[in-house]
């Protein structure tokens, strides 16, 4: 996994600088060069290099030790190797004391330098893997983990950062897969509640009664099977944050209960008589147009206004296409570690295929597409051939609208016909794309009298 790491070689002697850079490039690293300490610091300001080779003696008032100190001031974790032609014990001790990882005397043995670089990069890879795994484990995302260069997203992140430490309720709106929970987590973990619990609840995943007991808990004997008291998610989120995902899908009764919690900051457990007070910040999210739902009488306006104190609207991926290359590269790098694949990036044509696609499933779909492509890719780069499945999975193409005035059965019949045609008559593949068993598909083919 070398291509992800950049190395900076700093030496005032051009031939020394370029020859080491060329040698490292042959080893697969991306290498930049600087002819002075000042230029090195300038480059380090723009790029976070994994490794620096710095010549000890350089003219211009900034020697190797001074350069190293300034670089370490910018990047505390920078690995720096000091190289010199004039080895003395004193300079070696000074270099190591100031934080050099290694000290080598030129000319050095190719094996020595090769082992040194691979050892440092191995540690870097492990550190990176550790960070990824830790993030995955705790899911403690912060704003810098949100990858975007879109001006719209940047202003959203600025707003989210501003409100992170407030108690105000936040409503996050956006299509499925745009990263609503990621923003919610970033708000929580960037605010002063970061060390307190973050409790996420998917309101769409549970039936009304189950959701009620999940949110508010219950007393022993509240219903059949309630053999002991159970605390609900609101209590668990006390002094922290509760994230209510898919809030647009909750029932009218739960809307009333929720409104009461937001107003009074207290509630009763199911079957309970004791009022429970909580201090939980509420972040809600939905893909539903809540204003329309209010207009249609499906969502309470008083609850909507309670929730909509700070509104964050995340644009779909198709409206921030400039983020596609950035996100795609991020997923390639992360998945290369997870899948143990030596894939460094995406070809220009591959990227074009990604940019041309509409991404109805947004960032989540992009991540899945990269993973699917990487699983089957045998080369060092993903190409347009690895993404030939895009647009073949029944996902809505650009401009496609759901026809109205059609029965569910007729719709299902047409979908099955189109999918079988799309797979060239391959039933196994068609069943896979439709997400049903082969036997179920055969049953439907028979029922709808679909010719094969």
């Amino acid at each position: 996994m070398k291509t992800h790491w950049r190395i900076l070689v700093v030496d005032d002697e051009e031939v020394m600088c370029e020859s080491l850079a060329a040698w490292l490039r042959e080893d697969g690293y991306a290498v930049d060069t600087a002819s002075s300490g000042r230029q090195a610091v300038e480059l380090a300001r723009q790029t976070d290099y994994a490794l620096y080779f710095v010549d000890l003696k350089m003219p211009g008032g900034m020697d190797g030790i001074e350069t190293m100190m300034q670089v370490r001031h910018l990047h505390a974790d920078a690995s720096i190797i000091i190289i010199t032609a004039y080895a003395t014990v004193d300079t070696a001790i000074t270099a190591m004391k100031e934080g050099a990882q290694e000290y080598i005397v030129k000319p050095c043995n190719p094996e020595e330098i090769s082992l040194l670089v691979s050892r440092i990069i191995k540690v870097k890879n492990l550190q990176r893997e550790n960070t990824i795994l830790r993030k995955k484990l705790t899911r403690q995302y912060r704003f810098q983990d949100v990858i975007s260069k879109s001006p719209r997203m940047r202003s959203i992140l600025d707003l989210a950062a501003e409100v992170a430490s407030l108690r105000s309720t936040v409503l996050i709106l956006g299509d499925s897969g745009t990263g609503k929970e990621l923003i919610a987590r970033a708000i929580h973990f960037s605010g002063d509640r970061a060390n307190r619990p973050f409790i996420a609840v998917s309101c769409a995943a549970l039936a009304e009664t189950l959701l009620e007991s999940e949110l508010f808990g219950y007393e022993k004997g509240a219903f059949t099977g309630a053999d002991q008291q159970k605390r609900g998610k609101f209590e668990l989120a006390d002094s922290g944050t509760i994230f209510l995902d898919e809030i647009g899908d909750i029932s009218p009764k739960l809307q009333v209960d929720l409104l009461r919690v937001l107003q009074d900051r207290s509630f009763y457990r199911l079957g309970g008589t004791e009022e429970v007070r909580v201090d939980a910040r509420v972040i809600a999210a939905t893909h539903v147009d809540l204003q329309q739902a209010v207009a249609d009488g499906k969502f309470r306006d008083d609850l909507f206004y309670r929730l909509n104190v700070i509104e964050i609207r995340i644009p779909p991926l198709r409206e921030r296409r400039e983020d596609i290359p950035l996100l795609a590269q991020h997923f390639v790098e992360r998945l290369a570690h997870e899948l143990g694949k030596e894939i460094g990036g995406i070809s220009e044509e591959g990227l074009k295929a990604l940019l041309d696609y509409n991404w109805p499933g947004n960032v989540r779909e992009l991540e899945n597409a990269i993973e699917r492509a990487m699983v089957t890719c045998r080369a060092a780069q993903l190409t347009e051939h690895d993404f030939c499945f895009l647009g073949q999975n029944g996902s809505a193409p650009k401009g496609w609208t759901v026809p109205s005035g059609m029965s569910m059965q007729e719709m299902e019949r047409l979908l099955i016909i189109a999918t079988i045609q799309g797979t060239g008559g391959n039933i196994k593949e068609a069943a896979h794309r439709l997400g049903i068993d082969r036997s179920t598909l055969y049953e439907k083919i028979k029922r709808y009298e679909i010719p094969r």
Partner: protein, 177 residues
């Protein structure tokens, strides 16, 4: 029409040149031409007692025939780059020219009895390796692949004189022409 050029001079034995010419022509499926390598004494560094590979590569770039797709030159002299004590060879990554040194590929260099077969095997691997760099290939993690990094002669002996399937896929399909 473009050719693959093999550069050498009278210091290199006919047997070595013939073996390398056959190997390169077969591996890259392209017509091969011989090229007379000019003297490289100008690159001698008396302090190190070795030859600087960078000025030699610069000379190869200047003199490279216009119809050469690639020029791989072969020398008996021991090569170095300033930061390293020696190099087995040197190439322009993704460029047109490459240089291979025979000096450290002979058993005699390590105080052993001469062995023609071992020498030819090593020369073949290093020539393919440096030629691979000119096609943009970087070092391969597959130890048996000819593009694996070798900093000791034993590592050259552990490799095969062939590209692994992944490196092969990155070479131009069906030869150069």
């Amino acid at each position: 029409m473009k050719y693959l050029y093999l550069g050498s001079n009278s210091e290199t034995g006919r047997e070595t040149v013939t073996a390398l010419a056959e190997l390169l022509a077969a591996e890259f499926r392209t017509p091969l031409r011989h090229w007379q390598l000019p003297p490289v004494d100008f690159a001698f560094d008396p302090q190190r007692g070795q030859y600087a590979s960078i000025p030699i590569l610069e000379m190869l770039t200047r003199l490279c025939p216009p119809d050469a797709e690639k020029l791989v030159a072969f020398t008996e002299r021991d090569l170095f780059i300033p930061v390293l004590t020696f190099v087995f060879g040197h190439a322009q990554l993704g460029g047109r020219v490459a240089l291979v040194s025979a000096a450290r590929l002979r058993q005699e260099f390590y105080g052993l009895e001469p062995n023609r077969e071992v020498f030819l095997e090593r020369v073949s691997k290093e020539t393919l390796h440096e030629a691979g760099h000119t096609f943009g290939l970087v070092h391969c993690a597959e130890r048996a692949c000819v593009m694996a990094l070798a900093t000791r002669v034993q590592q050259i002996d552990q490799k095969r004189a062939a590209f692994c399937p992944a490196c092969l896929r990155r070479l131009p399909q069906g030869g150069l022409i």
